[in-house]
Amino acid sequence: MLNEKELRRYDRQIMIFGKYAQEKLKKARVAIVGVGGLGSPISIYLTAAGIGYLFLIDEQKPKLSNLNRQILYGEEDLNKKAKSVSAKEKLKQLNSQIKIKTWAKRICRENVEDLLNDVDIVVDALDNFETRYLLNEFCVKGRKPLIHAAVEGFYGQITTIVPGKTACLRCLFPNAPKKIKFPIIGVTAGLFGILEANEVIKLITGYGDSLRGKLFTYDLRQNKAECIEIKPNPSCPVCSESFGLRRQ
């Protein structure tokens, strides 16, 4: 149940999707893996929207070269606390009523299940495919929705993966790109982080159309949007078996 203060706080969005949907947001448990360029706007908007429980995962400390896009951090945060811990402090100022948990160590094959077992949705805000593939495997196995985005320069891509219903990340991108120092302007990470937060809100409330099974790209340099439907790969090493089992 929403209390009187929450009804006032979320009044403008309750006008869109109603009290019941706002209660769903309050009950939701969402993990944000990576609290950098994408993770900053994701966590800010999900905090503001009243997601009841956020789990922030990032072990790195803010560096000077992060500040063009990682808008949760300022000069006073450089090389001090882990991003997840520093982010929690900022987000608590925005909304003290939600629960925020942090993990300031690496997420890896040995701990992924323990860390993410009790969340409803996983948001990929990472900068590498090695860990993305790990999240993908966990989400397919555990049947948890995974919101994926990646950005570079003025370009980005986003999709919503619903295991058993859509292509998984391996179906989409079976080969990881080389890990490089990538160019990025803050607005690209900002836009795609907000789009990821939007996908989370739509999945939880059931409001609007999500990007499940669709790969959306946007070119901020030339203001060009594209959206293509992507089908599951029948020989995907990660998810094809789960589709097979569903059919039986």
Binding site: A150, C171, A176, T217, I228
Partner: protein
């Protein structure tokens, strides 16, 4: 046979066009198509044929996938940043 190529995000900017058409021999593979594209658009040589995500009518394709007349091939540069 003829196939249609669509370039996504910065591939389009590098090529100066969003789409193109290719004439290929019957039975040509994705690899052969990508090599021809790299030849026609030298700025893509850094990526093709290895560093690209390829979809044909929304289905993932690898370098050995055989093409058919009128196939629509979407080429995405692999991006990983966050």
């Amino acid at each position: 046979m003829k196939v249609k190529i669509k370039f996504f995000t910065f591939f389009g900017n590098l090529c100066g066009v969003d789409k193109t058409e290719l004439n290929l021999p019957q039975g040509a593979t994705v690899k052969e198509a990508l090599e021809k594209i790299a030849n026609d658009f030298p700025k893509l040589k850094k990526w093709l044929p290895q560093y690209v995500w390829v979809f044909i009518h929304g289905n993932y394709a690898n370098l050995r996938t055989q093409l058919k007349n009128d196939d629509e091939i979407a080429l995405f540069p692999p991006i990983a940043g966050g």
